[in-house]
């Protein structure tokens, strides 16, 4: 494992709803090392995408409040001006977005969209830029770079477009890549191709990757380390083998048991209740407690912190020690509202 590349300390990202700010990412600390793939797993609304956008500084300035520190190359990204941030974005860190159908400008040729990244950071001649772009297109596995260079996004399939999105992100060989659900919108065979490509590029370029996903299969295939997020907090973090062999936090275990391919048995586990909305998020105590009501109150910590329960395996709250799945879950009748 390499040196620390990105260090997030006590990050809190709050969004404005009406006149109030509500934290979508709450006190998150995370380190990403060089040449390491860190997966962030959770369901929609857990704050994983908000975390990614916070690192890239892509949130709406007026409606977002960012607190804490994001240290990258000895600079705190949160204290940089937009201009200073623009010198880093695209050059030292790149982002891969979820939906390749909307992530590209429909009115710009593919070549121009890739070259824009280089134009922002390098001073290259036209010919050199084109040469590099064609190399990039070749590198991300586009069969006919010369032709694609002149094409518009709508002329390419979803998988090809996602390759272009990746080419844009790696155009300046960044040290950190943030991939926000990079394969969710794609078919399985295309997903496999894109994951293969990302792995290959990572081996070549030794990039650190933050992989945001809800798909445990993708995590198992790609990640070195995994952080599980629930309601804005990291509830468990460990290396991928430990987490899959010995998941501890009740949320992690519930998540595993609700996925058909990972669950054992005929019935899938259903997590009771619903993910609370940003406004209704519990701010004190164990945030998952209301979804496991059969666990006694005393089992939870009053002020749950991440604790190292074995080497490099961190779990929030003590309730994991007392957690077990209910015997015969009458899952349906819990959410009669």
């Amino acid at each position: 494992m390499g040196k620390p590349l990105l260090q997030i300390n006590n990050l809190k990202t709050s969004f404005r709803i009406g006149d109030e700010f509500y934290a979508a990412v709450d006190d998150v600390s995370l380190t990403v090392n060089e040449n390491e793939v860190v997966a962030i797993v959770g369901e929609s609304g857990c704050g994983k995408s908000a975390l990614a956008l916070s690192i890239m500084g892509l949130h709406h300035e007026l409606n977002t409040k960012l607190e804490g520190e994001i240290l990258f190359q000895n600079k705190n990204l949160l204290s940089l001006s937009t201009n200073e941030l623009n010198n880093i974005r695209g050059k030292d860190m790149g982002m891969i977005f979820q939906d390749p159908l909307t992530a590209l400008n429909p009115l710009m040729r593919i070549g121009d969209q890739i070259e824009e990244t280089m134009k922002n950071h390098y001073n290259l001649s036209k010919e050199e830029m084109k040469k590099r772009t064609l190399e990039l297109l070749n590198k991300v596995g586009i069969p006919n770079p010369e032709r694609t260079y002149m094409q518009y996004p709508h002329e390419l399939s979803g998988g090809m477009r996602q390759r272009v999105v990746i080419a844009i992100a790696i155009a300046c060989e960044p040290k950190l890549l943030i991939a926000d659900e990079p394969t969710t919108a794609l078919d399985v065979t295309i997903q496999a191709q894109i994951l293969d490509l990302m792995r290959e590029l990572q081996n070549q370029m030794k990039t650190g990757i933050i992989l945001i996903t809800h798909d445990l299969g993708v995590v198992a295939e790609m990640a070195d380390r995994v952080a599980v997020m629930y309601a804005g907090e990291i509830v468990e973090i460990a290396d991928v083998f430990t987490l899959f062999n010995n998941p501890l936090h009740p949320y992690t275990r519930s998540l595993f048991n609700s996925v058909p391919s990972a669950a054992d048995g005929d019935r899938l586990h259903v997590i009771q209740g619903i993910v609370p909305s940003l406004k209704k998020l519990p701010r004190t105590g164990c945030r998952f407690s209301e979804r496991i009501p059969w666990i006694k109150k005393e089992a939870h910590e009053e002020n749950p912190k991440l604790r190292e329960v074995e080497k490099n395996h961190w779990v929030r709250c003590t309730c994991y020690q007392h957690f077990d799945f209910p015997k015969d879950a009458e899952d349906l009748h819990y959410d009669i509202s």
Binding site: S44, Q191, A192, A220, V240, F244, V270
Partner: protein, 308 residues
């Protein structure tokens, strides 16, 4: 008696071109597929986007027109029926749609959404209707008091259950579920899938379960058909498909699903690579000269593969 049989179904869309916009070619969305559904079973129809699985489902309930072929339900060919006659059978086959956010009319109250099929097919007094809707709401695990709410007041999983309640109102025999959980989070998916299994037992329902997610299809289905480019490449029991896949496309699809065991990561990647190489190498073995998929051939009582 045949329960539901789709026989040599073809759904073609015309491609127009030239100066007078004449039909110059066809897009063969569904190109000659045959499948049989037995009462009470779940048939999983799997494939990637554009393979024709959704078109097949929509054609069975009459949302698309069949270009050729038969859809036989209880010994009657539905494609031959006039609109009015078809209406009679329409209530026996219901559909659950993919997106719980757009498939419920946002301007209607839940009671009106769920009661709509009743109003189309049965005549009930407002009081009876209300009782029936409330019963159904309870059945799908929603509060009977919330029948006057609007769809936006429910979560995604709850909405999908409203969609299911709507399909259940007229006591259908077959439910066509088109990617019913793709838009939902995993834990909510689990809730809807469990629930679909429960009501299947209770009402002796037959499912045509359309999905791109092999994990979910494996969990739900008794038999599975794999579709590719508008045709079936392989059909068999769950065990046939997952344990003895014969067609290279099925193998490729299976290999593409990430393994949830990180320790088998390298093994799995190697296997995927081998399958993909075989796909390239032995293409002619599985597809004819024009790249078309062969007709299905039986290789055992339950298992058919499209091989020459």
């Amino acid at each position: 008696m045949t329960f539901l049989r789709v026989e040599n179904l073809k759904v073609y869309y015309p491609v127009r071109g030239g100066f007078f916009r004449r039909v110059i070619d066809h897009v063969k969305a569904v190109d000659d597929i045959t499948l049989d559904l037995q009462p009470g079973e779940t048939y999983g129809l799997v494939g990637e986007s554009g393979c024709g699985k959704t078109t097949t489902g929509r054609t069975i309930i009459g949302l698309n027109k069949a270009t050729a072929g038969k859809i036989i339900f209880n010994d009657i060919d539905l494609t031959r029926l006039k609109r009015r006659q078809f209406h009679k059978y329409r209530k026996d086959i219901q559909m659950i749609f993919q997106d719980p956010y757009s498939s419920l009319n946002p301007k209607k109250r839940v009671i009106d959404i769920i009661a709509e099929p009743i109003r189309n097919f049965e005549k009930l007094s407002p009081k009876e209707e209300r009782r029936k809707v409330q019963d159904l709401m309870e059945k799908v695990g929603l509060s009977p008091d919330s029948i006057f709410k609007y769809p936006h007041e429910f979560s995604g999983g709850q909405r999908q259950r409203i969609g299911i309640a709507r399909a259940l109102t007229v006591n259908p025999k077959i439910i066509i579920a088109d990617e019913p959980v793709s838009a939902l989070d995993v834990s909510v998916q689990a809730q809807v899938l469990n629930f679909m299994k429960d009501i299947q037992k209770e009402y002796n329902l037959t499912y045509l379960f359309i999905s791109h997610d092999l994990g979910i299809v494996r969990h739900m289905s008794d038999r599975i058909g794999i579709m590719y480019k508008g045709r079936l490449v392989e059909e068999g029991t769950k065990e046939n498909i997952f344990n003895q896949p014969k067609h290279i496309y099925t193998k490729r699809l299976l290999a593409a699903i990430p393994d949830v065991n990180p320790e088998k990561r390298d093994e799995h990647l190697l296997m995927r690579k081998e399958v993909n190489e075989e796909f390239e190498r032995n293409y002619e073995k599985y597809f004819d000269a024009e790249g078309k998929i062969f007709d299905l051939k039986k290789i055992s009582d339950t298992h058919s593969v499209a091989l020459p």
